[in-house]
Structure formats: C-alpha cells, structure tokens
C-alpha cells in the first residue's frame, strides 16, 4: 500500500472534489467506456473468432491480427474461410460482426425490432443494419475509436499551438520579448532557410532515392543551428535590442481567424484535401487553437503579476525559464476547461464533415456516416437515433466535465 502524502497536490485535490459530483463520475465513466472501445473494440465486435483450433492447433486469430499490425506475427489471410471444417472449437466475440462485414441476408435496412434472417439470437443485429447489411452496433464501436482518435489528436495539435502562443503573448506582452540584433537576424534568416530546406530537400532527394540522407542532413543542420546560436549569443553584432510585438501579432491572428466561420473553414479545407483521419484531426487542430490561445493569454496576464513570478524575476532567472517552469504549469489548469469543451466540439466537427460527405473515406465507419446514410432512407430511424445519441452523449459528457472544472476552479 502506498503511503498517502500529508499534503495532497493541487491536481489530486481538484480530482477528489470533482469526483464527489455524481454527474462527473458518469461523464468520466462514459469516456472510460469510449476509450475501452477504442482500444479493445476489435475484441468485442469482430467477424473472426477470438479463439479456435486449426487442425487441433490452438489459435487466437484476433490477437494475432493485433500483433501483426505491430509487425510481430503473420495474420490470417483476409480471405480465410472461417466456416472451413479445419477450424474447430471456435469462440466468437460478443458481437460476431465487424464494422465492415456485409451480411447479405440482412441487407436493406433491417430494423432492430423487426424480423431478421439469423441462425440464432447470438447473431442478431441488436441495433439493426444499414443498406448493404453492415451491423450498426459494431459500426458504432468502430466509430468510437475514430471519434476518440480524431478528437484527441486534433485537440492535441490545437493545445500545443494554443498554449504556446497564448502563454508567450500573455507573458511577454509587446515590450518584453527582445533579441539582440545578431540573434534576430540569425533567427529570421535561419527560420527562412529552414523552411526553404524543408520544402527543397525532399524534392532534391526524392529522385536520388537516398532517404536516409534526408535525416542525416536534417540532423546536421540542427547541430549547426545550435552551434551557431551559441556563437550568436556572444553578440558579435552589438547589443542593440529588437522587440517582437508578440502580443499584437497573436491578437491580430486571433481576430483574423475568428472572423472566418469555423464550420465553413472546416468544410472548405476538408473538401480541398483527400480525406483521412490525420487530415481531419489536423483541420480540427488548426481551427480550434484560437479559443485555447485566448484563454491561456488572459490567464497568463493574471499569473505574471503574482508574487512568485516577481520573486523569480528578482533572482535573475531567465525569462523563458520563468515562463515554462513557473508560469505555464499554473495556466494549464484553466486551459483544461477550454480543451475539454473543445473535445466535444471536435467530435461534433468530425460528425458534421462525415454527415455532409466530406469526412473519412468510405472504408472507415464513423458515427457521422450513419447519420448521412439515414438521410437517404427516412424509415431507417435506427441509423439516425443510435449513432446520434452516441455523439450527443459524448459532447454532453465533455461539456459537463468542462463546466464542472470551471466551477471548481472558480472561473467565470
């Protein structure tokens, strides 16, 4: 048993207080469920057995498939006929359908309450089927993974941009981020050169076919960059300082970005690029940083006046250390509220894109795609109700968690 610390940390206290609320516990459990389905969905709904014997030899097909996706084992062929007599003692998962498996006997929108062409109740489509006979329930389980992945990666990108820009602009303001002339010249030229090489090097090396060259050259450039930075810090070009008005720059980009309606921007970018999970996550990332930036910035404005920051400044600790070691960790808590709200919004955006047909490619099943399918066939209400309910509950849970966090932290 671990010894309980006499003074619990800020985060532990916050968590304990939140956990005392029933609604928070429910929201938390909903997210645990989604995470569980995202990771182990393949073991709950799949059309290949969990366990079987092949000519008397014990096999775990789904587990082997998971291993093979990490490159450790050879999977069964996609075309393996599991009804073959060589396979005995088969144990199927709870839902014996995978998200993409087509059940021809039950194609054409079979209702969850209606008659289904099934061997036994073990094979029933509990939430119905879609037009080509795919199981809605297993599709929703696979959709949980998509939603979780898209929202976590997307909000991760947004959080990195938002925390960085917001804390820099709040902490440094317009008159405190200063560089000597030499540093400034080095930084700007170095940045331009770096972005140029980022564009030109792949073109140059793609035809020569020496891929590892790229990594070596990139690493060499980085080392050169750091070495030169040390030289530049000796200030060979004099100590004339240049200020970077980072606050005005951030505010300006916030204003410009905030002006374009987010959903329209998402829609247009989604239509421009061939859809994939990472493209959608990226779109969510680059459209959701403004709110995090704004929140972190206003929090940072309060924090930088606090005594511990002032005392750190008295001790001549470098500014960037004060920012990243003292100030930023205290701004993360409040930013968590916006991030939590953003996760709900990210799931909504993914569903919105899929709903309008600009989402993930056809071979990936997501919640929004069921809603889109329901528009073609009004009598198939189960395609709209159940996936929509999942979207709604997830957004509701995320909103509620954000709201409770806000209450506990005493934010407005």
């Amino acid at each position: 048993m671990t010894k309980r610390q006499p003074y619990p940390s800020f985060w532990r206290k916050l968590y304990t207080r939140l956990n005392n609320k029933r609604i928070f516990r429910y929201a938390k459990r909903w997210f645990y469920l989604l995470l569980f389905l995202a990771v182990f969905g393949g073991y709950i709904a799949n059309d290949i057995p969990l366990y079987c014997q092949y000519n008397g030899q014990v096999q775990f097909p789904i587990f082997q498939k998971t291993l093979s996706s990490f490159g450790y084992s050879t999977p069964f062929n996609e075309m393996t006929n599991w009804d073959d007599e060589a396979f005995t003692a088969k144990v199927y998962p709870i839902i014996p359908y995978s998200a993409r498996a087509i059940d021809l006997a039950n194609s054409g929108f079979k209702s969850p309450f209606g008659k289904q062409q099934i061997k036994s109740y073990r094979y029933r489509h509990w939430l119905g089927t879609d037009q080509i006979g795919r199981d809605v329930l297993s599709g929703m389980i696979s959709g949980a993974r998509i939603s979780i992945l898209v929202s976590l990666i997307g909000m991760g990108i947004a959080t990195i941009i938002g925390l960085f820009l917001g804390s820099m602009s709040g902490f440094y303001g317009n008159r405190r981020l200063k560089f000597s002339f030499g540093q400034m010249a080095f930084l700007s030229i170095g940045l331009l050169l770096f972005s140029w090489l980022f564009y030109a090097l792949p073109i140059y090396f793609s035809e020569n076919g020496i891929a590892q060259y790229r990594a070596i050259v990139g690493l060499g450039l980085l080392v050169l960059f750091i070495l030169l930075w040390k030289v530049v810090q000796l200030n060979p070009l004099g100590k004339q300082n240049i200020f970077i008005p980072i606050d005005s720059m951030t505010i300006f980009s916030l204003e410009a970005f905030g002006a374009i309606p987010k959903l329209l921007l998402v829609l247009v970018i989604g239509a421009l690029f061939p859809p994939s999970l990472f493209v959608i996550a990226f779109i969510i990332g680059i459209t959701h940083w403004p709110s995090i930036t704004r929140f972190t910035r206003s929090e940072m404005l309060k924090i930088k006046e606090k005594e511990y920051i002032l005392s750190a400044q008295m001790q001549q600790i470098p500014q960037y250390l004060i920012l990243f070691r003292y100030a930023l960790p205290n701004a993360i808590g409040p930013a968590l509220i916006v991030i939590m709200l953003g996760i709900g919004e990210a799931i909504m955006v993914e569903a919105f894109l899929s709903f309008l047909g600009f989402g993930l490619p056809g071979d990936v099943v997501s919640w929004g795609q069921f809603l889109a399918a329901s528009r073609l066939h009004f009598s198939a209400w189960w395609l709209a109700v159940f996936p929509g309910l999942a979207i709604f509950l997830t957004i509701y849970a995320a909103n509620k968690m954000g709201e409770l966090l806000m209450e506990e932290m005493g934010q407005k």
């Binding site: 073109i203 309606p261 987010k262 829609l267 957004i395």
Partner: protein
C-alpha cells in the same frame, strides 16, 4: 468616441487583407483546371488532330486571359533556382504541371525545354506523314504517353518501345529527342536546393481578384460563367431569414429563461431548465434536424407524424393573401428554425443566468432593494443593464456558428440558401463561388463583431476610450 471608431475602422483594413490572403491561399490549393471547367470540354484527346488541339488551345488562351488565369498568382514567388521566371505563362494547366514535375526531377531548364519541344515536334512530324500504317494509332498512343512521362525509367521504357518502329520515321527527330533526353538526364540538379526570389509586379491573380472584390466583383462561376456575386445575392435572403429568425427567437427565449433561472434559483422549474439547457447545448443541430425530418415529415411512422412539409421554403399559389403567405413560409421554416434555435438558446440562457446571478449578488442591487425599488425594476433596469454586456460579446461566437450550422440545416431541409449553394459548389468544384462565400461570411462576421464592440464601448461607460491603454487589455 470618434477616435475610437476611426481606430477600429483602421484596424479592420489589415484584418480584411489577411482574411483575403487566407482565402486566396486556400483557393490556390484547389485541384482541377478552372479554365477547362469553364470551357466545358477537355482540350486534349487521343483522337484529336493537331489542328483541333491548336484551335482548342487558342480558345483556352482567350478564356485564361479574360479571367486572368495566365498570370502569376501572387506579387512574388520563391522557387528553386532552376525554375524559369515565366513558368506561369505555360498553358494549359496540365502542361504546366508536367513541366513542373520535370523541373523537380531534372536540373536544367533549357535542356528540359528543348526536350519537351522536341517531343512535340516528333509528334507533329509523325502526324503530318502522308502514308498511315497499321501502327499509326499505337504510335500516337505511346507518343502521347511520352508527353506525360516524367520519371527516367518511364521515359526510357517508352523510348525503347518507340525504337521498335524505326522504319516509320521520316525525319531524324527521334534521334534528336534521344540525344536531348540524355543531356537532360545528365544535367546537374544542385540548383534545386538554391532558393530564388522573383518579383512579379502588380499584374497578378491576387491583385486582380482583390481589386475586383473592392469593386464588388467576386469573379465568375466555373459552371455557367455567371457572376459569383449574383449567385450569392440570389441565395442570401433565405439564409438571412433562417438566421435572423433563429437569432430573434433564441434571444427572446434565452433572455427570458436566463432571467427566470437567476431570479428563482431555488425553484424546481429552473433546476429542470438548467439540466435541459446543458442537454440542448450538446445537441448537434444537424442531428436534431435529421430526427425532425425523419420523424415529423413522413408517413412512415403513422399518418399523424406527417405534421410538416418535408423540405424547401414553400411556393405561394397565385393570388395568395399575406396571411396565407406567412402561414406557408412559417410551416416550412418551423423545423429548421427550431433545430437551430435550441443550441443557440441554451448558450444565451446560460450566459444570462451566469452574469445576472453575479450581478444580483452585488451591493448596488441590495441598495436598490432596500430603498424600495420594485422587484421588476431591480432585475430589468438595474441588474439586466450590467448583465447584458457579456451577451454583446457572445454575438461574436454565436453568429459565425449559426452561419456554419445553417449549411447542414439548409441541405437537410432543402432550403435554397447560401449554405446549400456552398455545398453544391464544393461538390461541383466551382471554387470561385466557394471562396466568394467564405470571404463574404468572413466580412459579415468582422463587421458584426465591430458593431458589437462599438456598441459595447458606447453602452458601457467604464470602458476607457482615450486610447492610452491598448484596446485589447
């Protein structure tokens, strides 16, 4: 106040320029050839003779010139040093993409240029030959392939195939092409790594596009070459109807609910309302709309569920009275507006409750109560005045959200508004309309945000307008 307004208006200019640059930057990422889309047919074809292709190219050039597609895209460009300055002049777009691909693989522009011209010459020479043999079509096919091949292996393979038809050639163009290919292959590629800055001047696509927008000309649809602004103008009223109705209803109901909840916090009604509001906030409006259209507009679930018309905005019979017109319009707009109202209403009500509850705790309210001001007057005159300020800033988030959300609602209920135009244009790759809509909604949002800010400054005397402090702090 005047100084503040002027300052805000001046700040608007760079914001608009940045927005236009973002929009234009996105528009350069589009796929497809806009000029070919305007022409409506492809200029190349396996069966086409050289004369036909030339005639098509002339037509292409005319349209490209008319709509400025033959100009460089921005004031300047940064490209690898082996790119020619006049890359933008190569038409059609497919040819430009082919040359760009060659430039990425081989270093020397003059060698590439000569090689490419010699293939065209080769094809031309072959087409002019009088006697046509059995191999004619297969040779033309390979030559066309050669005119698109970029990688070394691909070109070598095609040249190998062509060398089996050696008796067909009347000129020594094949040998020249071979020689030029070897020269192009062995040219140095080091120039690719060196950046080159080119200044194109003011005669560029962005300049013409932005200048046109300032004059109210947003370009032309690639479908029917109609002005973009005309198409948007036709669809704007329906979207505005939808959004303004939604906003008014959400505002009235939201403020009402918010005031009720903050003045009767212990009432069971307000507790139920509170949980309801958080649920409404989480409902995606497009899901709600799908549920409405599935369950309330068809006979699929019994005759009594067919309550509303299933789409469109309704057409008026001739000679309909004003009341009848309103009835038809409102029966069609009821469900779309309702599905957009609920989430918006929830945001407004929660905000009003939050700020009004905070205001009602303050001492000046106590003073007012103690000196005998009536309850209604305390809430609406003293409290609400201060509580409404956050609501003004809320418009900044509500309005763009509504415009974005109405895309899905319009497509579900088949309302011919701006959102549906946007969707149709995206599917049809009619990009000038897409980016026109993006820009117009952005400008509308910026202006409404500005109005909200100015209103805020006008109404709240606590805001310092002397300009000593940054307006953002």
């Amino acid at each position: 106040m005047t100084r503040y307004v002027l300052k805000r208006l001046l700040l608007l200019v760079p914001t608009l320029i940045i927005i236009s640059m973002i929009t234009f930057g996105l528009s350069t990422l589009t796929s497809g050839d806009p000029v070919e889309q305007m022409l409506g047919y492809s200029i190349y074809g396996d069966e086409m003779t050289q004369q036909e292709v030339d005639a098509n190219l002339k037509q292409y050039q005319l349209i490209a010139q008319q709509y400025h597609y033959d100009l460089p895209s921005f004031y300047f460009s940064i490209s690898p040093a082996n790119y020619p300055d006049t890359l933008h002049r190569i038409i059609p777009l497919s040819e430009k993409q082919y040359v760009t691909q060659l430039l990425k693989i081989y270093g020397d522009w003059s060698a590439i240029d000569k090689y490419q011209k010699s293939i065209a010459q080769w094809r031309n020479d072959f087409l002019q030959k009088e006697r046509k043999t059995n191999n004619y079509s297969s040779i033309i096919h390979i030559l066309n392939q050669l005119n698109q091949a970029t990688s070394e292996i691909e070109i070598e393979n095609l040249l190998q195939q062509l060398s089996t038809f050696d008796e067909e050639w009347t000129t020594d163009q094949p040998a020249i092409t071979h020689k030029l290919f070897v020269k192009m292959k062995s040219s140095s590629r080091k120039k690719i790594l060196i950046p080159k800055f080119t200044w194109h001047g003011f005669n560029n696509q962005y300049h013409h596009w932005f200048g046109g927008i300032l004059k109210g000309d947003f370009g032309y649809s690639l479908r029917d070459r109609k002005p973009v602004i005309q198409k948007i103008w036709m669809s704007l009223p329906n979207t505005l109807w939808l959004n303004i109705m939604t906003l008014i209803i959400a505002l009235v109901a939201g403020v009402g609910f918010g005031v009720y909840m903050s003045t009767h916090p212990e009432n069971w009604g307000s507790k139920i309302l509170m949980t309801k509001l958080y649920a409404w906030l989480a409902i995606p409006s497009f899901w709600l709309a799908s549920l409405f259209i599935i369950f309330l507009t068809t006979n699929d679930y019994g005759a009594w569920t067919n309550l509303f018309p299933s789409g469109g905005i309704g057409s008026f019979p001739p000679g309909a009275s004003f009341l009848k017109k309103i009835m038809i319009r409102s029966s069609h707009l009821f469900l779309p507006v309702l599905s957009m109202v609920l989430p918006t209403l929830a945001i407004i009500a929660i905000q009003v409750r939050r700020s009004l509850s905070a205001e009602l705790q303050k001492t000046y309210i106590k003073t007012a109560v103690l000196k005998g001001v009536s309850h209604r007057s305390v809430v609406w005159k003293h409290g609400m005045r201060n509580a409404l300020f956050p609501l003004i800033t809320l418009f900044g988030t509500v309005l763009p959200g509504l415009i974005g959300g109405s895309v899905a609602i319009e497509s579900i209920f088949n309302i011919p508004g701006m959102g549906q135009l946007l969707l149709v244009s995206i599917v049809g790759k009619d990009w000038p309309i897409v980016f026109g809509i993006l820009l117009i909604t952005a400008v509308l949002t910026v202006i409404s945000l500005l109005i909200a800010d100015l209103l805020y400054a006008r109404l709240d005397p606590r805001i310092d307008l002397t300009g000593k402090q940054s307006i953002y702090d």
